[in-house]
């Protein structure tokens, strides 16, 4: 008896501990920092349900505990008093929860519609998901691999996938939408506050304090090996910064240095630069070598082969590797391909 209560109490203490334990400033309470105009509505309904849940849970557990204590069997020959079913109580217990869940349903559905109806004068960004990354195309033709959005302005993402299902999720904004091949889905949000600095996620040098002012874009529909590697940084920029950034975006650095950046954002999840084989062949020593491919037997790794491999990866597949690469047509600019080739030349 004491053991049972102790076990129960220990478990409840643990639950309270995780609920209130400090998680850094990034997280306040159950949900992450609310960073879009939609977050407030979601959190309100979340908390509304949560408080009722606490109430019901405590009610059930308290009744259980009290009955165990009060009606503990004293002897093996104990008699029990007959308890009659109470129709009135049962009817109450049908009607009251039905009304309550209908209230919860209406609250959730009403706010959901505000997620779905895009306001006028939105800033539209095209997003393409692929295994395993994202490209974002801006109205001026600039292509970016991380998501940068203007602050305090409704942004609409028009999304499609190049291969399998993906899902666009920014926890801080409370938005999520599956991304489907051969179909366009959309999601909108408005992030009022600019973020402080730009960091790549998954950077082991990040400390908790530098994490505080960043937002992460996750893929939440399982899409294969590097599903968890599709995290991208989301940066919210004030108007002037955003304009400058957008201008920079259309400029392409065609040097090996620029190629390295393109490699890190678009190629690194499958290819390495240091000889370790990934999902695709490593780039170290690739330039100028003779490649064993199918169909076709053998080709030299020159400008034509590299370009073809990027824009039509299924044409000549390196032996020993699957035909798994995404088609980068429309996701990469000619200048970037030139830069990649320059970068490849440096990987002896």
């Amino acid at each position: 008896m004491i053991g049972v209560l102790a076990t129960g109490i220990l478990a409840i203490i643990y639950m309270i501990y995780v609920m209130v334990a400090p998680q850094g400033e990034h997280i306040q309470g159950w949900t992450p920092r609310a960073s879009s105009t939609l977050a407030e509505g979601t959190d309100w309904v979340f908390n509304f349900i949560n408080y009722w849940n606490y109430l019901f849970f405590i009610g059930v557990v308290a009744a259980m505990g009290y009955f165990i204590y009060k009606f503990q069997r004293k002897s093996d020959s104990e008699r029990t008093e007959k308890v009659e079913d109470s129709l009135a109580f049962e009817m109450f217990w049908v009607i009251f929860p039905t009304l309550l869940v209908m209230v919860v349903f209406v609250l959730g559905a009403r706010d959901y519609m505000s997620h779905r109806v895009t306001p006028k004068n939105v800033y539209e960004i095209q997003a393409t998901a692929f295994q395993w990354g994202w490209t974002f195309t801006y109205p001026n033709g600039g292509i970016s691999d991380s998501l940068v959005v203007p602050a305090n302005q409704p942004v609409r993402m028009v999304m499609t996938s190049n291969d399998v299902l993906h899902s666009f999720y920014i926890p801080d904004f409370r938005v999520k939408q599956d991304v489907i091949p051969n179909r366009f889905t959309y999601v909108w949000f408005n992030a009022p506050k600019a973020t402080l600095k730009y960091n790549r996620p998954n950077d082991s040098t990040l400390t908790v304090s530098t994490l505080e002012r960043r937002h992460i874009l996750h893929c939440t529909e399982y899409c294969g090996n590097s599903h968890s590697g599709m995290d991208r940084n989301v940066q919210v920029m004030a108007d002037a910064d955003f304009t400058t950034w957008l201008e920079e975006l259309t400029k392409v650095d065609e040097s090996a240095e620029g190629g390295k950046k393109v490699f890190e954002s678009k190629c690194q999840s499958c290819h390495s630069a240091d000889g370790t084989p990934g999902i695709g062949p490593s780039w170290k020593g690739l330039w100028g070598s003779n490649r064993s491919v199918s169909p076709g037997g053998s080709v030299p790794a020159d400008e034509n082969y590299i370009r073809e491999s990027i824009l039509n990866p299924g044409a000549k597949v390196a032996n020993g590797f699957p035909n798994a690469m995404t088609n980068f047509t429309g996701l990469i600019k000619d200048g970037e391909i030139k830069a990649l080739i320059e970068y490849m030349k440096t990987l002896k």
């Binding site: 049972v4 076990t7 129960g8 220990l10 478990a11 643990y14 639950m15 995780v18 998680q23 159950w30 949900t31 509505g41 979601t42 309904v45 849940n53 019901f56 849970f57 059930v60 009744a63 259980m64 009955f67 165990i68 009606f71 503990q72 104990e78 008699r79 029990t80 007959k82 308890v83 079913d85 217990w93 049908v94 039905t98 919860v104 349903f105 959730g108 559905a109 959901y112 291969d163 399998v164 299902l165 899902s167 999720y169 926890p171 801080d172 409370r174 939408q177 599956d178 091949p181 051969n182 179909r183 082991s204 996750h218 939440t220 294969g224 090996n225 599903h227 968890s228 590697g229 995290d231």
Partner: protein
């Protein structure tokens, strides 16, 4: 009369020694032996699935690579899900406890189609073997949902989908057998309102099994054809629709959630009545709510797809209907708690499991309310919140009830009592370990940690580590529970017919039961939890061996 502490003399003839040799088991048509064979099989698959879970949690102990690479991790979590869902939790209670107890509890000699019952067992194993081949030959890395077009274009899923297809037939045939048995083979006097609540749970489950399982069979068949000959149903490159796959899949798999939980609810009803020595508060409400859940379960599949690109109107309708499932579930919880009121509560291990079930299942249910809300679900969908929610329902619900039921009916099945203090230690560790493992995941999920992630950002490192430590405590608890059962087989005390003072029919026959269940067909004259009528038995010599039992069940001619 036998003095307390003295062991009972072993019963001469029962189903375990009626025939000898391994062949007599493998060709048996006795529902009790088939139940035991299912029990051993599901325990085996539970061990496999559990071991895979340990590897999953171990990999997630730290961010980045811990013990395996991403490709291996994806295969391990997929295998964990597939084995647990299709080979363990769906058949767990109905096929093992259900098979063993259903005919006894209605006073029948066997199920309606004993040979079909044996065939179901072999079909189940055929599915199991195909699944093992699937795991060893290249392995599936799609998760247990096999979402297209990933499953049809990228990986080898044919063995595994074939396994699910075949195992589905076992489920359909078992369900069919149970429906017919309950309808046609009840003993004289066993009216529908005298049916024990465990059987109401099994009955509702059987109906879902018969109606829903063919859908997954057809879906798996389509998936195989898509993969092998490219018919273009799901793959957009061939003109198909991947969202259509999700509709097909969840049209089965949502009702399947109730295949998993309804029998567990039935078990808990039995435990609550016996260990409170009180008739179930609102018997009819529990029986009817099982049927209501079975019915509504077919209408809510779309709540798995709120962000999948279905129309807003569809999402709103599915959300509304989803909330209606919560009502019959809430009725059950209140009835169980009400049963304890003015009862005579004995905290033996099975009752501890029943209390754990109430605690954990309430959390599972209430967090389901959260996930049914459209705007909140947008945030929580495909995060660890969902992972925690279904583990609270499936493991905190079904597995805990299964363990409780197993302790409760173990003496009936084997004639031996388990070691009480060992069982309580196991229960305590399982409870603590479970909460540390999965409650942590509610927090992680609501903070935005997506599921099926090999690697994660540093914010979640602390909570992931906690969750992994919890899995070790949980694993230890389950290991002790297993040892407890094995220990009982060798060292357990002999028990009489009714060690708990239970009032349903199975406690009238010997432990272990006779090969034909009862010497004579029983005549049922009272409700299953009528402790008033059964008072004299309970107040007998306290040994519960049925020696002083007054004939509340009048024997008739066989």
């Amino acid at each position: 009369m036998i003095e307390p502490g003295q062991t009972m003399p072993a019963i001469e003839h029962h189903y375990l020694n009626a025939e000898k040799g391994i062949k007599s088991w493998l060709t048996t048509v006795d529902h009790k032996r088939i139940g035991i064979m299912y029990l051993i099989s599901v325990a085996l698959f539970f061990a496999v699935g559990g071991l895979l879970a340990v590897f999953v949690r171990l990999e997630l102990l730290t961010p980045g690579r811990t013990i395996m690479d991403a490709a291996m991790y994806n295969r391990v979590f997929s295998a964990h899900g597939i084995v647990m869902v299709f080979l363990f939790i769906i058949p767990s209670i109905p096929a093992s406890l259900g098979n063993f107890l259903l005919p006894i509890m209605i006073g029948a000699k066997d199920v309606a189609f004993p040979r079909l019952n044996l065939a179901s067992f072999y079909i189940y194993w055929a599915g199991g073997i195909l699944g093992i081949i699937g795991m060893l030959s290249g392995a599936v890395d799609t998760g247990w949902t096999f979402y297209a077009p990933y499953s049809t274009t990228t990986t080898t899923v044919v063995w595994m989908t074939l396994a699910v297809f075949v195992a589905g037939f076992s489920s359909i045939l078992t369900g069919l057998n149970f429906v017919v048995t309950i309808h046609k083979m009840r003993a004289p006097g066993m009216t529908w309102t005298r049916l024990p609540l465990f059987l109401w749970g099994i009955y509702a489950t059987a109906i879902i099994q018969v109606l829903a399982t063919p859908v997954i069979g057809i879906t798996m068949l389509l998936l195989m054809m898509e993969k092998l000959i490219g018919i273009g149903i799901f793959d957009p490159k061939l003109g198909g629709d991947p969202v259509l796959y999700q509709h097909f899949f969840w049209f089965y798999s949502h009702p399947a959630v109730y295949i998993m939980i309804l029998p567990a609810m039935g078990v808990v009803s039995e435990l609550m009545a016996t260990f409170s020595r009180q008739k179930i508060f609102g018997y009819k409400a529990i029986a009817l709510s099982s049927m209501a859940i079975a019915l509504v379960s077919f209408l809510v599949w779309g709540h798995h797809m709120f962000v999948a690109g279905q129309s807003e109107v569809a999402a709103i309708i599915f959300s509304a209907i989803t909330y209606l499932v919560g009502v019959p579930t809430g009725i059950k919880v209140i009835s169980w708690v009400g049963t304890m009121y003015k009862g005579s509560i004995s905290l033996r291990a099975p009752m501890i499991y029943a209390q754990m079930f109430l605690f954990l299942f309430t959390i599972g249910g209430l967090t389901g309310i959260m996930l049914g809300s459209l705007n909140v679900d947008v945030h929580l969908h495909d995060t660890y919140y969902v992972v925690a929610h279904f583990h609270y329902v499936m493991m905190g619900g079904t597995v805990i009830a299964f363990l409780g039921g197993l302790h409760y009916w173990w003496p009936k099945m084997t004639g031996k009592m388990y070691n009480e203090s060992l069982a309580k230690w196991a229960a305590g560790l399982i409870f603590i370990g479970f909460n540390v493992t999965f409650f942590t995941q509610f927090i992680m999920g609501s903070q935005g940690m997506p599921r099926r992630y090999y690697d994660y950002v540093p914010e979640y490192a602390h909570l992931h580590a906690f969750s992994t430590y919890g899995s070790w405590i949980l694993g230890l608890g389950l290991l002790i529970a297993f040892i407890c059962f094995i220990h009982s087989l060798f060292k357990g005390e002999q028990v009489g017919a009714d060690p708990w003072g239970g009032t349903t029919l199975e406690w009238l026959t010997t432990s272990p039961p006779d090969a034909h269940n009862f010497k004579r067909v029983p005549l049922v004259t009272r409700n299953p939890y009528d402790y008033d009528a059964a008072y004299d038995d309970l107040l007998g010599d306290g040994m519960g061996d049925g020696a002083s039992r007054t004939p509340t069940v009048t024997p008739t001619k066989a």
